[in-house]
């Protein structure tokens, strides 16, 4: 009898523990980003397969400049790079230095489970991780560039003060019937702030490029309202604001299309921000 009673309470207690989610106070809401408005078009785009590279870095990471050096040898415009400031440990900024950590970058960092930096991934393929000097990442990027293009992608962005208006054009080259999402992010180049170097000295004038400043859509992308059949073309419009410490003139917009379930990137594109010229 005692065993039965303990058994019942045990099973019910176990179910209670594993079948109930608890959201901590302060996390009741999450960033959902700017909304993308999609319309069907008859545009025909030139299919260009590009490669999306995410690199996790930090100002107190002595090996991160090694990764920068490796990636800086790539000059192919078909490679789209985003540097993400690791949220903890070696990613914590030096006192008085800019804090490049972002909410979106932290969510992505947690998803990868990044526990050592530098770390990089190609097209969000979890099976391939590059650490330290990045190993054979250059060869693998070149290999990824030869993949067949599933979806052609183009983008343009117009800036004014603290706002960006963007247009995304997309066309399925082959059938892709699984749900996909489109993520829009803003990265900034030529940011100068302190960086720990491999010899453990610091460089106060280190130039950081491709730094993620904002994920404009929701962190895992906006749903693409499309059937995914070959030839289908869509145009998306999205407006988003940026923080005052972002220099839009040194920024560019990154757009990538991902499989909604696996989050693997199918294609990507980047573009500069165009400003309206003041006639006066």
């Amino acid at each position: 009898m005692k065993k039965i009673f303990i058994g019942i309470i045990g099973i019910i207690g176990l179910m209670g523990l594993v079948s109930c989610d608890k959201i901590e106070e302060g996390e009741y809401t999450v960033y959902d980003g700017a909304k993308v408005t999609w319309t069907s078009t008859s545009s025909s785009l030139t299919p260009v397969q590009r490669v999306y590279v995410e690199k996790f870095t930090g100002p107190r990471c002595s090996n991160c400049p090694l990764a920068d050096a490796t990636l800086s040898t790539i000059h192919d415009e078909r490679v789209v790079m985003v540097s993400i400031n690791h949220p903890t440990g070696q990613g914590i900024p030096y006192p008085g230095q800019p804090d490049l950590r972002t909410d979106g970058g932290t969510v992505w960092d947690k998803w990868y489970g990044v526990n050592a930096i530098p770390a990089a991934y190609i097209n969000r393929d979890l099976s391939q991780q590059y650490l330290g000097d990045m190993g054979n990442i250059v060869g693998d990027i070149n290999q990824a560039l030869t993949a067949k293009c599933v979806v052609a992608l183009e983008a343009s962005a117009y800036g004014a003060l603290d706002e960006v208006d963007a247009v995304i054009e997309l066309q399925f080259v082959t059938d892709y019937l699984q749900p996909v999402t489109v993520t829009v992010a803003l990265v900034e180049d030529s940011l100068v702030y302190r960086q720990l170097l491999p010899d453990n000295s610091v460089d106060d004038n280190y130039v950081h490029n491709h730094m993620l400043r904002k994920v404009a859509t929701s962190y895992w992308g906006a749903d693409l309202e499309a059937s995914g059949t070959a030839g289908e073309s869509l145009m998306g419009r999205v407006d988003f604001t940026i923080d005052s410490d972002v220099n839009l003139e040194k920024s560019h917009m990154v757009v990538f299309v991902s499989d909604k379930a696996t989050r693997k990137v199918l294609n990507c594109v980047q573009c500069g921000i165009t400003f309206e010229v003041d006639e006066k």
Partner: protein, 554 residues
């Protein structure tokens, strides 16, 4: 294909109406019910015209039993649904099917099933045809009885909503132990105890619910929401105490305004009874206990749980004119009930005795402080009482004057807050008196007379949203019911708002019963209002016309 199977099964069932036996050695039983309605516009009572002219709800249940095995199905038809039933019922088809094994130590049901854990505060899948409510689970239900007095239940499935099924997945486990059966020393004891515990969890996919405070934020929704129950049913001699405490995890939903405040509920019922006398006190406190399998669903469908009402379910027309609807987001209340049978030969009891029944209940809201909207904790609960939601006290005296004549007199005082129906307006204070006389004229023939009066401080004003409730005002009612032999009955009634109200609702009904078959036809006016059963309610719109009903079983 399913329609063909159903047709064959129905024919098989009807074919056995005479013998109701013999199909593969088993038994086939069932019942059929058809309810029809014709209504035309009446601007005074607010009845709308029915474009279809005829509305009908119909159903046929067939149950096949063979030893420990049983299988059943139910065909339902809503062409189109009667007034007051959700338009999403429109259509016809197989609404329920199951196969079941019911052995000594194991029961298994596959298909649709109804189930309840404890008082239902964490799980109650049930159906009430008069409320238009069917929360059946489609899935599996397993019950184990390893030793006498111990029952373990496990359920998994999705809830029925009209002709479809909710996206949320419901899982639950419940255990109950009757100590008197399993502990030897308690078998002869005056002390009785049954202990139980249950857990129910629902899983639902993520969805985008925008934060009300910031359009760039959305709610971080818990995908798995659980509710746990602990309960005890204790007894000693003439006393018994039933209690259940329930907690529910964060469950932001449409019914609570997407707040993250956890839920809890406590139900207590203390009863004393002896020959000729019984008394009970019931207490209930609910805080955010609406538990649905689909978070965005409002209305009465897809509730996983049921929160018992602690107000008396009145049957007389004016007493039930303002029924109480359970407030799932928060309420607290008490009910006391005393029944006393005055002995024959005493001053009050006279020659045939006298039955007294006193009942009172009071329900209040929770005293809360709002701290935010969607995407926040929502509110904090303070210790006091919130606004008055409902209260009533009624005294019923029933006396048999002779073998042929029995009368019942009831007085009731009610306080009703329209907020329980999400309507504006002031508290209604009603005094109600009912006199009911039954006269058995001869063997098989009886007459029943009923007279009711209600005086209310409410008034009707069609142009004022706070006072356009057609139940308002002072009312009188009369009813005569004549049972003619064992087959026929006739009934005539009229409700009339004679002061500060509107409407004259007359009804004529004739019915014929033969064996298990009953046919009833009525003509008259139905007042708009709320039909509540156990605190769960359905809006009944006004109607004006013919109704008929046919029921039979085999």
């Amino acid at each position: 294909m399913i329609k063909r199977i159903f047709t064959l099964a129905l024919l098989a069932a009807l074919g056995t109406t005479v013998s109701a036996q013999g199909l593969l050695g088993g038994h086939v039983t069932g019942n059929v019910q058809m309810d029809g309605q014709m209504s035309r516009a009446d601007s005074v009572i607010g009845a709308q015209d029915v474009p279809e002219k005829l509305l009908m709800n119909a159903r046929a249940d067939v149950l096949y039993t063979n030893g420990d095995f049983s299988a059943g199905l139910r065909f339902e038809l809503y062409q189109n649904p009667l007034l007051g039933f959700d338009a999403r019922y429109s259509g016809q088809g197989l609404a329920n099917y199951f196969v079941a094994y019911n052995g000594e130590k194991l029961s298994v049901t596959a298909g649709h099933f109804y189930e309840q854990f404890g008082s239902g505060m964490i799980l109650r899948a049930y159906e009430d045809r008069y409320l238009g409510l069917d929360n059946a689970l489609l899935g599996m239900n397993v019950q184990l009885r390893p030793v006498q007095g111990v029952t373990i239940k496990g359920v998994i499935g999705r809830q029925k909503i009209f002709w479809e099924y909710g996206e949320g997945l419901v899982r639950g486990i419940d255990g109950e132990v009757n100590l008197g059966s399993v502990l030897g020393f308690m078998k002869e004891s005056k002390f009785r105890a049954t202990l139980g515990a249950g857990f129910v969890s629902k899983y639902e996919d993520d969805e985008v619910i925008p934060s009300s405070a910031n359009p760039e934020m959305r709610l971080n929704l818990p995908l798995n929401v659980g509710a746990t129950s602990l309960r005890a049913d204790l007894g000693y001699g003439n006393w018994s105490l039933q209690t259940e405490y329930v907690i529910k995890g964060q469950d932001p939903s449409a019914i609570n305004g997407y707040v993250y405040h956890p839920g809890q509920a406590l139900l207590l019922n203390l009863i004393y009874s002896q020959r000729g006398f019984s008394a009970s006190v019931q207490a209930k406190r609910i805080d955010n206990m609406g538990f649905k399998s689909v978070r965005s669903q409002s209305g009465e469908m897809l509730y996983i749980n049921y929160l018992p009402a602690i107000t008396k379910n009145h049957t007389y027309a004016f007493l039930s004119m303002y029924p109480y609807a359970t407030q799932v987001n928060g309420e607290q209340g008490l009910q006391a009930d005393v029944m006393y049978k005055v002995k024959k030969g005493t001053f009050l009891g006279g020659e045939n005795g006298l039955d007294l029944h006193l009942n009172g209940s009071a329900v209040f809201g929770l005293d809360t402080t709002v701290t935010g909207g969607a995407g926040t904790e929502g509110y904090t609960v303070n210790g006091g009482l919130g606004e008055t939601l409902y209260g009533d006290v009624s005294l019923e005296i029933a006396k048999k004057l002779s073998k042929a004549v029995k009368y019942t007199v009831t007085y009731a005082y009610q306080v009703f807050n329209p907020v329980v129906e999400n309507e504006p307006g002031d508290l209604h204070h009603n005094h109600i008196v009912v006199a009911d006389v039954l006269w058995k004229v001869s063997k098989g023939h009886s007459l029943r007379f009923e007279a009711e009066w209600m005086g209310s401080d409410s008034h009707y004003d069609a142009d004022d949203p706070a006072h356009n409730d057609r139940r308002a005002g002072d009312w009188i009612m009369g009813l005569v019911e004549w049972n003619i032999g064992t087959h026929w009955f006739l009934s005539a009634s009229d409700q009339y708002a004679y002061n500060d109200g509107v409407g004259n609702y007359y009804n004529l009904t004739v019915g014929y019963t033969h064996g298990a078959t009953r046919l009833q036809i009525g003509y008259g006016k139905q007042r708009e209002g709320l039909l509540c059963i156990g605190g769960v309610c359905r809006v009944v719109p006004a109607s004006n016309g013919l109704t008929f009903s046919l029921t039979t079983s085999f």
